[in-house]
Symmetry: C2
Subunit: 335 residues, 2 copies
């Protein structure tokens, strides 16, 4: 059987080629026309749909996304946000996990190119940027999320990490804390560096000396920060508060304290990052820096679709979305 | 530049064509040979790898997975389990969400076929099975997870839902509960029906009459079960315990009780499903039926790879993995 074409759909449905084409490209058409077109497509065999769309526009209507882990809360919420937008435009999403490995990240990019995706949204695992340069030079639309790459001019959607961290530390200071520990992320991750910067800036602005023994680095992965908590809590002069800089390290802290009979909000204060319903349901509730995770995904998806449609206005655009502070009883007032 | 072939890799690496071929097909070869082959592939340009593998075997080394939502705990853990296996065999995973819609599920299947995946692992959204029949008739290897489809002979990995629910209800009965409500799932979902069966069986075995007013149906989605809790808690004769049959409905219950000042473990007992770290961290800790989520993914991936390699021994295989019970202070002893 020869492949069906837009002309066939037009003939069978009695709808003009232009309208069929607009429908196949994902634009809205009159409901009655849509019904006729869909009926014709069904008669001709559904495959015509994706095929014809590809033929007409040379697009696959597929977007690739690469995140360090498909199982963490942050990635999940961001992907949910993307899906909202992409789904309504009839794009499919190929989700890949780089498993926090730069090698895997590179492999997944090749994989997505092989699958002929129309564009890629990615959360880079490290500062390494050559492969992203390569992508951009090949004119593949790319949107970075959560993390910028030094030396790469590229569209991106990130949060104001410095301010998020700054405000968390500021609140702790206002509650009388002076000895504040931090579970910082890996030094080669943009987001982690920014949050550490926010911590340093807030302390400096309030004339509190930076004490290196209060800064612990950890992986942003499940169980990350465990060693850091052990060290901070066994210091001769223990901090009165600890700031955990992402969801996993916050979770590790809550678990560590519970398991060791350390009362959060009494024995030690804990400020977390990346709220989920969960932190507010705990006793005590955990104060957190909240990122608009869904919104990151939505912005990234919209911007990508714009680039796929060859609209490169104001390139490169970097959205910096605002974080907010959610208070909790995990912070003890010392004054 | 002409495309590199296995012969080129053999020539450059000095390793026999047979060994290169075995390596490219994902089999283990001696570490020293692997290094030489990888070096040769790198020199020739990485693309040879996937290409050659494809040429040689007609495979894409890609597996598709379709789950109702990419953001729920269950799907995530299952996918993580799959990745462990597939990654080590150098397969890539295309993750699709059917968004709890049978139409989307069908579209995603077409999408995955278009992407020429070697096989599909899917968690069907409903009892509708024609499209799965179609897939099987086209000799696409398919593994169902979590849910069986009536009238479809197909490999599958599911949990012993009936027993899981049975044992939860049994424990409640042993603690003196007689009036036990249930937030059951949608009636067109296999898993949900099985769990409801377990509830009914346990009550029957203990000669407790089934009271329809204690059975509420809910969507297995975020916020699912809210109306059910409202109804159960406002019954003239309130149940002393409620059994929530998946993660989301358990979460809804915890939130509802907290927001309405109802003390779990005192005013009412709550038995949940699908433990995460979180339920054990709450005060009180929530008793739950625990499914081996990672293991579901691992079993499904292994079985799929076997089928992709054309090993159809004992077809169809249905694994039924055991659940276990995790106790919690959310259950009050009435005796």
């Amino acid at each position: 059987m020869r492949m069906s074409t837009i002309k066939d759909v037009s003939r069978v449905s009695g709808i003009s080629i232009g309208t069929v084409s607009r429908y196949l490209n994902g634009h809205k058409v009159k409901k009655e026309n849509q019904i006729k077109i869909e009926k014709a497509i069904e008669e001709l065999g559904y495959k015509v749909n994706l095929m014809a769309r590809g033929l007409k526009t040379n697009k696959t209507f597929t977007v690739g996304v690469i995140v360090p882990s498909v199982t963490d809360i942050f990635s999940n919420q961001v992907i949910e946000g993307m899906e909202e937008i992409l789904d309504s435009e009839k794009y499919s999403l190929i989700v890949c996990s780089s498993r926090n490995s730069i090698e895997t990240e590179k492999e997944k990019i090749l994989f997505l190119k092989e699958k002929r995706v129309d564009g890629i949204i990615m959360m880079p695992v490290s500062d390494e940027n050559e492969h992203v340069h390569q992508l951009l030079s090949e004119k593949v639309p790319v949107i970075l999320i959560d993390r910028l790459l030094d030396g790469v001019d590229c569209d991106a959607v990130v949060c104001d990490n410095v301010n998020g961290a700054y405000r968390a530390i500021e609140q702790l200071i206002q509650y009388g804390h002076r000895r504040i520990g931090i579970i910082a992320g890996p030094n080669n991750v943009f987001t982690a560096r920014e949050r550490l910067n926010g911590y340093v800036r807030a302390l400096s602005d309030y004339k509190i000396p930076i004490d290196d023994s209060l800064i612990e680095y950890a992986l942003y992965a499940k169980g990350g920060g465990y060693d850091g908590y052990v060290k901070l809590l066994n210091l001769p002069e223990r901090p009165t508060a600890i700031f955990a800089t992402n969801y996993e390290t916050t979770m590790t802290g809550v678990k560590y304290m519970m398991e060791n009979g350390i009362k959060i909000g009494e024995d030690i204060s804990l400020f977390g990052y990346d709220n989920t319903d969960v932190f507010q349901m705990l006793t005590p509730s955990i104060a957190t820096v909240v990122q608009p995770m869904n919104s990151i995904g939505e912005h990234a998806a919209k911007l990508l679709l714009q680039r796929i449609d060859n609209d490169y206005k104001h390139y490169p655009i970097v959205y910096r979305l605002k974080t907010k502070i959610l208070s909790g009883t995990s912070i003890k007032k010392l004054i």
